[in-house]
């Protein structure tokens, strides 16, 4: 233990061993994954996200949404992800093929978002939720993202994207000026496009959909 070169070699070996064992083998096993071609539909899955959804992903990243939300559905029998309606099957490596930044997340201060696009299909719901989470989810600890919206004078026709706030809420918060509307900024539109696209509907051969357990006979 007194000789420098031996010590260095040993330390290098330890680091290299873990990198080879975990990262390199992971790369060999999962890095070469390709999309799955469905013969019947003539499509490749997973599908590539649209440009606007891609922009929305960048907004999701810069606001740090991954600090509170995961995007990984666990297998049945391990937690209650499917029972909570967070997905019809567990997430597999192929689902993340086209993601430049894999946003698995590590905390569930908020629910898993892997399939939020299937759960909340209405853009209006998302706009309200982002503007003030208490509007759609009372008691939520999600921070309001009011900075993603603009309260501005109506120019010509009212915007179809204008938020449909409940009357008394609008009054309480001074958002009921006539001739004004609360609209999402382009960043908000992109973010909602991204959230609506978050959905893994296709079942790859390596992923089996969740089958609810048969009802127990007799008392339990």
């Amino acid at each position: 233990m007194n000789r420098g070169p031996l010590l260095f070699l040993g330390i290098l070996a330890a680091v290299a061993f873990s990198w080879v064992g975990l990262v390199l083998t992971g790369e060999i096993q999962s890095g070469g994954l390709t999309p799955y071609y469905d013969q019947a539909e003539g499509k490749l899955y997973p599908e590539k996200p649209s440009g606007q959804a891609g922009q929305g992903r960048l907004v999701y990243e810069d606001l740090g949404c991954a600090a509170c939300h995961t995007q990984q559905v666990r297998r049945p029998g391990f937690g209650t992800d499917e029972a909570r309606g967070w997905g019809t099957r567990q997430s597999v490596a192929r689902d993340y093929l086209y993601e430049p930044r894999v946003l698995l997340g590590s905390l569930r201060t908020g629910p898993d978002l892997r399939n939020i696009g299937a759960r909340q299909t209405s853009a209006d719901w998302h706009y309200l939720h982002l503007y003030d989470p208490q509007l759609t989810s009372p008691g939520s600890v999600m921070p309001p993202a009011r900075f993603l919206f603009a309260y501005r004078k109506v120019v010509g026709q009212p915007s179809p994207l204008a938020l449909k706030l409940p009357g008394d809420y609008a009054r309480q918060h001074g958002l009921d000026r006539p001739g004004y509307e609360l609209v999402p900024t382009p960043r908000a539109e992109a973010l909602v496009a991204y959230l609506l696209a978050l959905n893994d509907p296709y079942t790859f051969p390596e992923a089996k959909p969740y089958e609810p357990a048969p009802p127990k006979k007799g008392g339990a």
């Binding site: 233990m1 990198w19 975990l22 990262v23 992971g26 810069d62 740090g64 698995l104 921070p143 309001p144």
Partner: protein, 485 residues
């Protein structure tokens, strides 16, 4: 009774005072930087904690939104406070253990400049919206090259210093410090390349990311913390480490098993099952280095607990050592699948992270600073009261945070695993525990303020004329052997 061993003639060892003096500028720079970042991290962490139960707190602007401020706080804590402190203690310890004055200190001062500049750009960048969104690697790509430059300078210095050491014996702390200095650039470069600059495709990215986070703790922070504990406990007591021959086993088993526990962060995730099993196996094997460290550090304290009343350094370092054992045991427990099913994704893991980074690492660093600063400045700590305030605030705050978020997280996990409990109800039940967490941060903040005030006061105080050693530990033979009640 073991006689002190001198491995070379007196002329070959530089005087301890001269060695300490040679480390003054680099160590002071990193130490003071670490304290600045400690205050920044404390503010950001407190804001984050308050927002976690009161989402409307400071909610108007994007730059303070929860996702950004929590990442900024984490990076300030990990790379600002913890890594600056690690480097300060490493430089001082390397010089002392080599019995040679620190050479080329100017290189380290330049390194410190680059490191802190990069950090400042990085933390501000996260708040501005340039986060990379990769856990523990959020600092944007324009900031991290500065950290590389800083680190390259440190690495070169380390190799040269080790080469010029004057003591043939290499003490256990030196193995740990060399491992830390060597491993950090490797794991950081690999992580930056494979996650930030040329991201790996698909879930391999997450594998690399968590391999990195795990190894940052197992191969950078743990070795530096253990190096300090292995030095300060025997040094303060005047007593050698118990069962020292075991320390080699502890060292190698930490490196080999500790570096494999990364997959624990991905249990249940979309990665190959055997990778996760390997991670779990490694976490169980971690019981070996934890047991060795417990024997070496805790058994050395047997019969000397009265010394805790007398020495600030010993208090901090021993508490840190105890937390090392506890946090490692919790980590092993968390890797067991049935436990992970409950604790994964909950506040329990946040509590675990802070117990490691603060309960263990920060406490040991505080202990180290209390020892080395008087020897660098040749002055005494101006206020024992402030030391006591700092110690009790640190212990109470970190224990409260750990208990509150562990209990809250456990309940959260149990309720999440009961599909009949609506999600918003699960959230509501965590609120009182998160509030206790904010109280804990306020207590920690008080401790940090007390410490920084004491440091600044000491810096500004006059050094007694003709001082060559801290006044409590003068050299005259008449004072030798006197160690108080």
């Amino acid at each position: 009774m073991v006689r002190p061993v001198s491995n070379a003639g007196p002329a070959a060892h530089a005087d301890t005072g001269a060695v300490d003096a040679s480390t003054r500028w680099p160590v002071l720079l990193f130490l003071l930087s670490s304290l600045g970042w400690l205050l920044v991290a404390t503010v950001l962490a407190l804001i984050t904690s308050l927002k976690s139960h009161t989402p409307d707190f400071l909610a108007g602007e994007a730059w303070l939104t929860y996702g950004r401020v929590s990442a900024a706080g984490l990076n300030a804590l990990v790379y600002g406070w913890s890594s600056n402190a690690a480097l300060a203690v490493t430089f001082w310890l390397m010089a002392r253990l080599s019995r040679a004055p620190l050479r080329f200190g100017g290189v380290l001062v330049v390194a410190g400049g680059f490191w802190n500049l990069g950090l400042t750009l990085g933390v501000i960048g996260i708040l501005a919206g340039d986060s990379t969104a990769a856990p523990w690697l959020e600092m944007p790509a324009y900031a991290t090259p500065l950290l590389f430059v800083a680190y390259a300078l440190v690495a070169v210095w380390a190799v040269v210093t080790f080469r010029y050491r004057r003591l043939a014996q290499v003490y256990v702390s030196q193995w740990y410090l060399l491992a830390a200095l060597f491993c950090f650039p490797w794991i950081y470069s690999i992580a930056q390349v494979m996650v930030v600059f040329d991201p790996a495709r698909g879930v391999v990215q997450s594998l690399v990311n968590w391999w990195y986070v795990n190894n940052l703790i197992a191969l950078w922070f743990m070795p530096v913390g253990l190096a300090a504990a292995y030095y300060f406990i025997p040094k303060v007591l005047g007593k050698p480490i118990h069962s020292y021959y075991l320390s080699a086993l502890g060292f190698w088993s930490l490196l080999i098993f500790g570096s494999w526990t990364g997959p624990d962060h991905l249990i249940g995730g979309p990665v190959p099952a055997w990778v996760i099993s390997a991670g779990i196996a490694a976490s169980v094997m971690m019981l070996i280095p934890v047991a060795v460290t417990a024997v070496n550090l805790h058994l050395t304290m047997l019969g000397s607990f009265r010394a805790l009343r007398v020495s600030p350094t010993l208090r901090f370092v021993v508490v840190g050592g105890v937390n090392f054992t506890l946090v490692s045991l919790v980590g092993t427990a968390m890797s067991v699948r049935s436990v992970s099913e409950i604790t994964h994704f909950t506040h329990f893991s946040e509590a675990h992270v802070l117990q490691g980074m603060y309960g263990f690492f920060a406490m040991v660093m505080f202990g180290a600073f209390y020892y080395l600063l008087p020897r660098l400045l040749l002055k005494e700590w101006p206020s024992a009261v402030l030391i006591r305030v700092h110690f009790w605030a640190a212990v109470l705050g970190s224990t409260l945070y750990w208990l509150a978020l562990s209990i809250g997280g456990w309940i959260q996990g149990q309720e999440m695993n009961a599909a009949t409990v609506p999600f918003l109800e699960v959230v509501q039940h965590t609120l009182p525990w998160l509030f206790a967490g904010s109280v804990a941060w306020i207590i920690l903040a008080i401790g940090h303020l007390a410490f920084v005030i004491n440091v600044v006061w000491m810096l500004l105080a006059q050094r007694p004329a003709g001082a060559t050693v801290p006044t409590l530990f003068p050299n005259p033979p008449a004072m030798q052997g006197v160690s108080g009640p």
